[in-house]
């Protein structure tokens, strides 16, 4: 094994001699410390490797030839080895970042830097409490001094504040150590641990002082003003060093001390860590300064680590597991946070909005994205697995407050990090960056390192299975070939997904699963064609797109909660990235990810309260041996309703659907919402034993569906923007599906699923057709279009087919689906709901009429004289969808029969539901009816063809008139478009029904957002900037915690 004394000796010798080396040449000294840091890191890895093969190796080394407690002992076990390896690696990367600084500032700065690392290593290794004090002082003093590399006023002020705070906390630590020595008679942690517990108040005081001394160094809210100022003003290399190496070492000291604490003390500090996490993130919400934001985020993450270490230990988990989980969080934070600080230094932009400078540099943008996404705990980064486990453990131990705090903090974190990412990805900027290699190198290494650590950890994770890797692999592979022409990538993607779908996805699935696999994966594959319309490489679509589709498949395929959640998160992330591609999608994408994350965290909480699934079985098949309580069902249900855009939580939906690129909108609306349907269905299956159509919960769900259908339709009516119209229309249609599912009857579910299939086809169709229109006309406002029927007949036919299908008039499949829904509602006696659903359908006519009339009929706009038909790539999916619609319209049984079979696995088919040839026969006690799609088609065709022939005959005699140029008689109207008939088309209805569509939900969410922002601003006021006030904070905070502890 490696003798850790050698490690320390190496650092010391180099630090002492660096001044002499520097006399030879500056570069020699710089490269020497690079070598030292790399060797030290290598020692860590080596030790780790040795220990992996000889787990029983003695890892404790004494000094001076005496054993502890006489002498000081160092321990170089697995955890220490990991830390030594990582900290020194980051020390090396940080040193590389500071290369230019070192060139200017000389040997002293280099020696100081090395000593920061010495302090950190010593702190990690030592098992002696006073020795940790010495190393803590080395670490702190070296850090104080190195702050001065940047000798501007602000960093000097921040340095003084830091030193005063550090001085106070180390004094508390020292006095605590000595007071404790009075009781224990030892300074060695291991000896100390073997003592029988001491129960006098004085000893508790000693422990408290010791703990608080270290704890203050971990920058807990609100006693952390000094740290924030420091992060904001110090050189970014130094800030990164403090947030990664410095904090990690002190955190490990805290971890070493933890077993000494009394449970009450540990509980208080753990709670304080959680407070720090939540409030740090809360205050970060309104930060505009990137470095200070990172400071808040850094303190929050440290709080999270303190909290998780404490909470998991308090719950009595074995230390190995506690460490594994904490390590996941720690590694993510280490890589990502130092990376972000370095990135701050490279962009040299303090204002978040100026980060758009990254747009010009996709490499840096990707790196930034990796860091941000990793910090938020998205898969496949280690923090994802860590958070998953923590929440599961909290759920099992019923630690609800902790869980709530953790999830709230995480959600806040998502908000500000994603907003930042949005600025970087979507802002406007043309300037370029100066990127010295010495600064790029650490960034690249840490991004790559994070990625590979994640890969390694994901593979190590036993329960996720091979399938779960595919989305990530797809993202990486398509990312690598992203420079290829889009057509080629499209073909590759279609081929890969089809093969995977056919050979891997479908075979193990039950009928219901296959159905959803077809909807989700099949439906998406068809729409890949639309992406192939782009010229050249069209970078950025395919990685996310393929990840999205694989993840969708995995959602159906999931057999454990983790697999499901992993796939769900990957799907969300992929969808976010796709939405973000839209030109003005910054806010929309932010809304999407915030609502999705909110949903995801509810889901996480719900899953944690659910028993573990039986491995190897799909979750939807586990209804018979799994009971799930009402609370998890509720949480999961809400999560899925968010994804479906149910009324109240639909706020994100119109924005995301309309601002995303058209092809993306189509997938979001036609496919992605079905993932929510699948989820909801899954929950209903799991609770199907406990509820029935008449349960209050199902009635409530039914009403949610009804209102979603109703308000969705109503809001669609008043939109000028065709895409927003379609978005609300989608929402409305999903409302019908929810109603159908809420019935908990065979017929209800069949009707809901039948509508789901239909919706995929017709909404995909309309979106594709409208995508072509938007592409050719360059606008989405309906009053700016008109008379396109002649220019784009195919689009017209598609939209016509689509709206016939949507509106539910014969002969197309929509009629059947509506008929199904009404019948099944009536069958359960939900008359009121039927009425309202029926009314919503009537409203649907209004917006659909507007859509086809104002866009395709009427007078053509002069500036749209030369629009052409859509590119073939948009027509292919339309053709497929039209064929599908025709097929299930004429022969509805080809889909209704399998649906009935699939549903039959969960809710038995009633005897009164039968097929008779093409005829579907209902003969229940309360209801009689039949539906023969084939017949309906022939009758309707007949009814239509006769007038058509007549029209054509008459038409032969009509005279064609050229379009008039309408000359304004007098003044030109101030807003000419307001005079267009399509503008505000349904103003009269708005007078009558407008009160229903007042933006209450918008007002509510705006209120929530503003509330959080002002809370954040108010809280930030405690950081007055006065060093003395910060000291006062520390003392008062100490007293407060002491009073909480309540020593008698």
């Amino acid at each position: 094994m490696v003798n850790p004394m050698l490690l320390l000796a190496m650092f010391l010798i180099t630090a002492f001699l660096i001044a002499l080396l520097d006399k030879l040449h500056r570069k020699i000294s710089i490269y020497t410390i690079y070598a030292v840091l790399l060797i030290a890191s290598g020692m860590g890895f080596w030790q780790l490797n040795t220990l992996l093969y000889n787990p029983n190796l003695s890892v404790v080394v004494f000094s001076a030839g005496f054993s502890a407690p006489l002498s000081i002992s160092l321990q170089f076990g697995v955890v220490e080895a990991v830390l030594v390896a990582l900290l020194n690696l980051f020390g090396f990367l940080g040193a590389s970042y500071l290369y230019r600084r070192f060139l200017q500032s000389g040997a002293q700065a280099i020696a100081l830097y090395l000593l920061v690392l010495l302090g950190a290593n010593g702190l990690v290794l030592t098992r002696d409490i006073f020795n940790s004090f010495v190393f803590l002082e080395i670490l702190s003093i070296a850090t104080y001094a190195i702050i001065a590399v940047d000798q501007n006023k602000n960093s000097l002020v921040a340095g003084i504040k830091y030193m005063l705070a550090g001085g106070i906390s180390s004094t508390l630590f020292l006095i605590g150590i000595v007071l404790a020595y009075r009781y224990t008679g030892t300074l060695n942690i291991d000896t100390w641990l073997s003592l029988s517990p001491i129960k006098t108040p004085g000893y508790t005081v000693a422990l408290f002082l010791m703990a608080i001394g270290v704890f203050i160094e971990l920058k807990p809210f609100p006693a952390n003003g000094w740290a924030l100022d420091l992060y904001q003003s110090a050189d970014k290399g130094v800030a990164s060093l403090i947030s990664s190496v410095n904090t990690a070492a002190i955190l490990f000291l805290y971890y070493k001390l933890m077993p000494l604490f009394t449970p009450a003390l540990l509980e208080i500090l753990t709670g304080a860590g959680l407070i720090s996490f939540v409030f740090g993130n809360l205050i970060a919400l309104r930060q505009k300064n990137a470095s200070r934001l990172l400071g808040y985020s850094s303190t929050a993450q440290t709080g999270l680590l303190v909290f998780s270490l404490g909470a998991l230990s308090l719950l009595g988990l074995p230390q190995g597991m506690v460490l594994r989980i904490a390590l996941g969080l720690f590694i993510t934070n280490l890589f990502a946070k130092s990376g972000l600080f370095w990135l701050c230094g490279v962009t040299k932009r303090n204002n978040l909005q100026d980060w758009s400078v990254l747009r010009s540099d996709s490499g840096l943008l990707i790196i930034f994205g990796i860091f941000a996404v990793a910090l938020m705990g998205f898969p496949p980064f280690p923090s994802f697995f860590a958070k998953w486990q923590i929440i599961q453990i909290f759920g099992a131990s019923q630690a609800w407050m902790w869980m709530a705090g953790l999830l709230i903090g995480s959600l806040l974190e998502v908000v500000y990090l994603m907003r930042w990412l949005g600025f970087a990805a979507k802002g406007e900027s043309q300037s370029t960056l100066e990127k010295p290699f010495s600064k790029l190198f650490p960034l690249m290494v840490s991004a790559l390192g994070l990625a590979s650590v994640s890969y390694y950890l994901t593979l190590m994770y036993p329960q996720i299975g091979t399938n779960s890797i595919y989305p990530i692999m797809a993202f990486i592979l398509f990312g690598l070939i992203d420079i290829l022409p889009v057509k080629l990538k499209g073909v590759l993607a279609i081929a890969a997904l089809s093969l995977w779908g056919w050979f891997v996805l479908l075979p193990p699935l039950p009928l219901m699963g296959q159905l959803f696999a077809l909807i989700l994966v099949g439906g998406s594959i068809v729409q890949i064609f639309a992406f192939m319309r782009y010229q050249g490489a069209a970078e950025g679509f395919f990685p996310s797109l393929t990840m999205l589709i694989f993840a969708l498949g995995n959602i159906v395929l999931a057999s454990t909660k983790l697999q499901f959640f992993l796939a769900w998160e990957l799907m969300t992330l992929a969808a976010y990235l796709l939405i973000l591609k839209g030109k003005k999608a910054r806010v929309a994408a932010l809304l999407f990810i915030v609502f999705s994350s909110f949903g995801a965290y509810l889901m996480l909480a719900g899953f944690s309260m659910m028993p573990n699934t039986v491995e190897g079985y799909l979750i939807i098949l586990q209804a018979n041996f799994m009971a799930i309580d009402w609370l998890p069902a509720l949480l999961l249900g809400v999560a899925f309703l968010i994804k479906m855009g149910a009324v109240g939580v639909h706020y994100w939906l119109p924005a995301a659907y309309s601002e995303a690129d058209d092809e993306t909108s189509s997938i979001l609306s036609s496919v992605l919402s079905k993932a929510g349907v699948f989820g909801l269905l899954m929950v209903l299956i799991l609770i199907s034993r406990f509820v029935s159509s008449s349960s209050i919960s199902m009635m409530a769900l039914g009403w949610i569906g009804v209102f979603t259908a109703f308000f969705g339709a109503l809001m669609a009516v008043f939109q000028e923007d065709a895409k927003k119209l379609l978005a609300y229309s989608s929402m409305s249609q999903l409302g019908y599906i929810v109603v159908g599912l809420s019935l908990m009857t065979h017929l209800g579910w069949v009707s809901a699923l039948y509508l789901a299939v239909n919706h995929l086809f017709f909404k995909g169709l309309i979106f594709m057709a409208m995508a072509a229109v938007f592409l050719r006309t360059g606008t989405r406002n309906m009053y700016e279009m008109g008379g396109l029927i002649k220019k784009m007949p195919i689009a017209f036919i598609s939209v016509l087919m689509g709206i016939i299908a949507v509106s539910g008039v014969p002969p197309l499949s929509g009629f059947g689906s509506k008929w199904f829904i009404y019948t099944s509602l009536l069958e359960q006696g939900r008359y009121l709901q039927t009425a309202l659903v029926f009314f919503s359908s009537a409203i649907a006519f209004l917006y659909l009429y507007r859509l086809i009339h104002t866009v395709f009929l009427g007078q053509a706009k002069p500036n749209q004289k030369d629009v052409k038909e859509a590119p073939i790539w948009l027509i292919i999916p339309q053709g497929i969808f039209i064929m599908a619609i025709m097929a299930i319209s004429v022969f509805p049984n080809i889909i209704t029969k399998p649906l009935s079979l699939a549903v039959g696995d969960y809710i038995a088919k009633p005897e009164w539901l039968n097929w008779d040839g093409y005829n579907l026969v209902l003969n229940s006690p309360t209801l009689h009816g039949n539906w023969n799609g084939n017949l309906v088609m022939y009758v309707t065709m007949g009814v239509f063809i006769i007038p058509l022939i007549w029209l054509l005959l008459v038409n032969a005699r009509t005279q064609k008139v050229k379009q008039f140029n309408i000359v304004f008689a007098a003044e030109r109207p101030y807003k000419p478009w307001t005079t267009h008939f399509a503008y505000n088309m349904f103003a009269h209805y708005e007078k009558a029904l407008g009160f229903l569509v007042k933006p209450r939900v918008t007002a509510f969410y705006k209120g929530v957002a503003e509330g959080f922002h002002s809370l954040s601003a108010t809280l930030a006021r405690i950081y007055t900037g006065n060093g003395q006030t910060y000291m006062l904070h520390i003392f008062l905070y100490t007293i407060f915690l002491y009073l909480l502890l309540g020593v008698k």
Partner: protein
């Protein structure tokens, strides 16, 4: 006003925290086992009368190495903060003759006294740091008397580096000669005779090195503070 109130609360509160400890504190009448074994071990195993030195240099030698490092850090930090862009000429008036002569006569004596202190650290009170400070005070005298010392500027840095280096080497010698658990173990040299100046293994050497190291660090701090910060 509210601030004074809060300060008052803070002071009272901090005092209150210590209260339980003070309440149950009574001066002990005997040593705890660890201290006893230090006393016995120092005498028996290290042959060293001064138990504090035994602890500082040997048992807890790693702490002292850290302490030396802290001092080195302070020097580097102060020097770094108050560094001169280029060597400036000191424009102070020359010292009076008495002071000059006195200083140049006294300084060697003071240095000698410092050396005495750290060389006897293992036998009597005092040791490396105290001796170092005494040496530094001699240097201070030179500085105050404004006797030119540019000769010493480089010398200080050199001795800073080399003595630190030697200190670590002395520690490593234990590792090499006595085994993996013997970093900073002075017993690779003979224990010698009780109360002899050349006894207790390498302790006198180590303490002397600490003295030189500490002395030169402190000189360096004084040097930096004396000149520094005049140039931005």
């Amino acid at each position: 006003m509210i601030k004074y109130l809060l300060v008052f609360v803070a002071i009272i509160g901090i005092g209150y925290i210590f209260l339980p400890f003070v309440m149950e504190f009574s001066t002990p009448t005997k040593l705890n086992p660890l201290a006893t074994s230090y006393v016995q071990g120092s005498v028996n195993e290290l042959n060293m009368p001064n138990v504090v030195t035994a602890i500082v240099v040997t048992y807890r030698g790693l702490d002292t190495l850290g302490e030396v490092t802290v001092l080195f850090l302070a020097t580097a930090g102060v020097g770094f903060l108050l560094k001169r862009k280029h060597d400036m000429v000191n424009h102070r008036r020359k010292c009076s003759e008495i002071l000059c002569t006195g200083a140049s006569l006294l300084t060697p004596l003071i240095v000698l006294f410092g050396v005495y202190i750290f060389a006897h650290g293992h036998l009597s009170p005092g040791g490396g740091f105290q001796g170092g400070v005494v040496i530094a005070s001699g240097f201070l005298l030179l500085v105050m008397a404004n006797i030119s010392f540019h000769f010493s500027h480089n010398l200080i840095h050199f001795s800073e580096s080399i003595s630190g280096f030697i200190y670590v080497l002395l520690g490593l010698a234990g590792l090499v000669l006595l085994g993996a658990n013997s970093f900073l173990d002075p017993r690779y040299l003979p224990a010698g005779k009780w109360l002899d100046i050349v006894s207790t293994g390498a302790v006198p050497i180590i303490y002397s090195i600490i003295g030189i190291k500490g002395g030169s660090e402190l000189c360096s701090v004084i040097d930096s503070l004396q000149h520094g910060g005049t140039e931005l």
